[in-house]
Symmetry: C2
Subunit: 395 residues, 2 copies
């Protein structure tokens, strides 16, 4: 496949592309927000039109004087967003403005290893191409459920991804698709999705707490993902909640993940079913052979007191950890996302109650705690945003 | 006093000034690191020379071809750094490179209120002027021991600063000294001092934990102070260590500050003295009428088992909180500073032991935890850095 190399030639062009991605503007409106004379602006826009990244789009409404020419990103621009979870894969194709043109979600076991899983992603994209959604991709962003060395584009000792350690995901996908590629962990790309199209759209500093099989946190500082010096920032699943708590898979005791998250919930629900304390869960266990977080949600929706207690206890533990992080980080917003977040408002109410009681008043005075509204597209939109940030940067 | 208004005229000039501040360079060396043609670089440098901010300084050693002209910041540039603590005031005058030309430290009670304390700062600077250290200041940075609204330059509901709430510190100092002024909290300016001249000189992302009367944390992201959305980031003194812990002044129970810090140590030491468990501390209490953190340090140095236990317990609590923050933030370095940090290596060993055991291995793999080596000048150097960042920015 031909490798796409279209990139802006300087920082001004890169800035213009990002502005156009984040909302259409006329030349006059662009001139208002970039630090360029009108003639230099036109030189840069002409350069972008020549590169095929931007095109003219008629005249804008008059702002009093002569009508200004409208410009927009090339309608042929296409990004791929690939969100690989522990048990699922989501693939989407977007235009230059990161609007989702096609999205597919399928069950997929990360333990099948990188070759099989990445082939699957490429196949799913191939179907979008056959359906005419794109002819050439301009970039692909990939999220994986484990720690990533961002500069190298490889997973690093990921606990639930056997066979993926240091596998060259970025290089493999880039070669296969013939376009630039970037890899990050799944929580960071969800945070980027919320930043681009979700509740964090106008928030510079926020936290996204993903409660799935495990618990992780995406950290956004000044509109950019903060990854820490070795890329592990936000890895909050093993923060200590209680010295006397259950032993965690990591070897320590009392970690947040040992108390809460999909794995802990499934274990607790099974205990409740077997001990007969929850007749509803006992029935589900007998019917399906195993219990998952969804079963706890269903039980709670039926008014099962033990299921509701499980969710409240979990929310309390998450709230305790979050209260410390809110005092430390003073974010403008906290978003709760991930499969277990679908436990919904019982969970949210408990988290809120602990954080608003335990964090500094100065930090919580104007800080909403909300459930994600983007749901399952957060990851793919964030992955597209990740690669577009790269493609729309100067060479 | 004449107001100084010399400021660079554009971002290029601002960048050049900061480069010169952080290490002298020839024109050729500057051209290597800034994105300007050699002729444009010379235009900007000439502009700075005309403004009196920069001056020529002979020829650099040859790098093979023609010898390049050296430039340096004007030797007449002077910044003031003012570090106001709960019980002390430090004032310094620096040159443009932030080298300390004069420094004075005096006891001072913050409870005397802003008018008296700020007058004191101005008087101390007046003595430096009388001694010929400067004729005109180009800027003044001020640190205060409480939360600050950074954009407004005023303290906000500071718990230990009666009379200071929303007092216009920045404006008052700026008018009094006839130069630009900036105010931040004492922990942030210490972190800036470490960034400029201390152990964090080449570290982009780090934490400075100040253990004084209370406990606070300075957060540096990408070489800049991270303040959070309402300026309270790093306020870790009220993070919960234990639900069943002592009641804190804030009304919650089990806060870090309720366990450790100068105030908690003084209380615990007094208990040890009165109960007779520490004969050494009992003797000191009888001699001086009150005990402070320094007495615990002295007792520990004498081998007093109870004093050593106090320090270890405190280090353990600090370590527990820090372990969570290190997992979350993945810093490149943690610096322990403040009066109580003088408890020294018993404290440091305990903090290290807990953090290295409880944080993610990926986060601690290459993360030193060290005691500050700057000591009491960290605050004044950081205050000078704060205002120089402002003065050396484009108008």
């Amino acid at each position: 496949m031909k490798r796409s190399t279209m990139r802006p030639e300087n920082v001004h062009q890169a800035t213009l592309l990002r502005l156009l991605r984040d909302g259409g503007r006329s030349r006059a409106e662009l001139a208002d927000v970039v630090d360029l004379s009108r003639s230099k602006l036109n030189v840069e826009l002409d350069g972008l039109i020549e590169l095929g990244l931007v095109e003219s789009a008629g005249l804008a409404a008059s702002r009093g004087g002569r009508r200004s020419g409208k410009v927009r990103l090339s309608p042929h621009t296409r990004f791929a967003g690939i969100d690989i979870g522990a048990t699922s894969i989501d693939v989407a194709v977007t235009n230059g403005e990161l609007e989702v043109l096609g999205h597919v979600s399928e069950p997929c076991d990360i333990r099948e290893g990188p070759a099989a899983v990445l082939d699957r992603a490429v196949d799913l994209l191939g179907k979008f191409r056959e359906n005419g959604l794109f002819t050439q991709l301009h970039g692909a962003g990939i999220g994986v459920p484990g720690p990533v060395s961002f500069p190298e584009g490889v997973p690093v000792v990921p606990p639930i991804m056997p066979g993926w350690d240091r596998y060259p995901v970025r290089e493999a996908i880039g070669q296969e698709l013939g376009c630039p590629a970037m890899v990050d962990n799944d929580v960071n790309i969800m945070a980027l999705g919320e930043l681009h199209a979700g509740l964090a759209r106008n928030v510079d500093d926020f936290l996204l707490v993903k409660i799935g099989t495990g618990v992780g946190c995406g950290i956004v500082v000044d509109g950019k993902i903060y990854r820490g010096v070795s890329g592990s920032a936000g890895d909050i699943g093993h923060i200590r909640v209680d010295d006397l708590g259950p032993v965690c898979a990591c070897g320590n005791s009392g970690c947040l993940e040992a108390y809460f998250g999909g794995a802990a919930l499934a274990r607790e629900a099974t205990n409740l079913a077997r001990s007969g304390r929850s007749p509803y869960l006992a029935e589900r266990l007998a019917a399906t052979g195993e219990l998952r977080a969804e079963d706890v949600a269903a039980a709670a929706a039926q008014g099962d007191a033990e299921a509701i207690r499980l969710i409240r206890d979990g929310g309390h533990r998450v709230g305790q950890v979050l209260a410390s992080l809110v005092s430390f980080f003073n974010p403008g917003l906290v978003i709760i996302a991930g499969g277990v977040a679908r436990l919904g408002h019982v969970l949210l109410a408990e988290i809120r109650s602990v954080v608003y009681r335990r964090s500094l008043p100065l930090a919580t005075g104007n800080m909403p705690i909300v459930l994600s509204e983007l749901g399952e597209i957060a990851g793919v939109v964030g992955a597209a945003r990740l690669i577009s940030d790269h493609v729309y940067s100067a060479k």
